[in-house]
Symmetry: C2
């Protein structure tokens, strides 16, 4: 933590005066008080982005789903559980931000019904799932909203899915990674991403999630108003 | 960790020479490489039981689902993900054990189909869930198997459900708790349990999960062959 504070003191500040809102981690979508649907996101990439943005001088809010990670130093961290809660927390803060980074692995679906008692019965059943709100698309659709950077975690045809996703969500930038690679997946400390943006596509150097965070923010910082 | 080692050196050893197998944590049941169904178990109660049993002299194997907890000192810890993997790990070890403690919150169900690529499509859908194996019942059914202690995490009518569960699974002992209580739930550091056993029912003193672990093992140790 001392090192983190020193880094903040000593770094050059290309994001000084900028407000950055970042989402991280998975969301959990409960079907009853005990059980939920979720995903393997560890939150490491989003937390690395939040810490790095703070080092670069930004005022950072991190809206995080459930993770085992400590709050990053000098970052306002808001803990949420579901996609709906994450959307609410983001909507309160995104309109005033300069940059929104949607790094959370938001569950695409949630159980249609949330029981207030533990579901009983051992037989099989069909769990009805309904679509969750699309947080990145909602922020990208704001009038005078922030610049947007999204992430696509893919298991096949990563670039093709990333291009579709950038267009469908209306994001300015989209970082694509193939989470089936052991050194670039949800639980890894390293990552390998291709950044799709207004100027084209660039595969960034392989590195730790902090190094990838610095590379991403170095490219986007000059493009903030 | 030094303290943990000292406790092991200094404790009286009512479980010396005994082999104890303990399950802990949730299980995760994948529907594709990224998404899964799971539950809120933190693993804290099972890890406290494993650490305590080792302090009391037992040779302890902890079969743990995904948790954020470090391996307990002086405990052989085996990490698994799904209920099927947990069952396999337990079956390799339970027949030779003196005591089996089923503290994991094993998912009652798993997705009927596990996709090897990330599921695509934003619309709603019905996720087919099928029953998982019952690990506690499988161990309780072993000929010349270990003494068994199970746990029931309930959200209503806890004692009634616990009595049914003890009978249905054939467990010797069953510890019941109401996980809707803030100081006795999955993520709490404290617990309040009622122990159902061959001699009747006893509500143990409220305490830390380590204190509750000591109280449980103090009652069961004299009953091991």
């Amino acid at each position: 933590e001392l090192v983190a504070h020193l880094r903040i003191r000593l770094a050059v500040k290309p994001l000084a005066g900028k407000r950055v809102v970042i989402t991280a981690g998975p969301t959990r979508e409960p079907l009853d008080p005990v059980r939920f649907v979720s995903n393997r996101s560890s939150g490491k990439m989003g937390y690395a982005l939040a810490a790095t943005a703070a080092e670069l001088g930004a005022a950072v809010t991190l809206v995080s789903g459930p993770t085992a990670l400590p709050d990053p130093v000098a970052v306002d961290t808001v803990r949420v559980e579901t996609a709906e809660e994450m959307l609410d927390a983001v909507q309160e803060r995104a309109a005033d931000a300069d940059l929104f980074v949607g790094c959370a692995a938001v569950s695409d679906h949630k159980p249609a019904e949330r029981l207030d008692r533990k579901r009983k019965g051992k037989g099989g059943f069909a769990l009805e799932l309904t679509p969750n709100p699309d947080i990145l698309a909602a922020v990208a659709a704001l009038d005078n909203g922030p610049v947007t950077l999204g992430f696509a975690a893919e298991t096949h045809d990563a670039l093709a899915h990333g291009r579709e996703k950038r267009a469908a969500k209306g994001a300015d930038w989209l970082a694509v990674n193939d989470v089936t690679e052991a050194d670039a997946g949800f639980e890894a400390d390293t990552n390998r991403v291709t950044l799709l943006g207004p100027d084209g596509e660039e595969t960034l150097p392989f590195g730790t999630k902090h190094e990838v965070a610095r590379a991403l923010l170095a490219r986007i910082a000059p493009r903030l108003a």
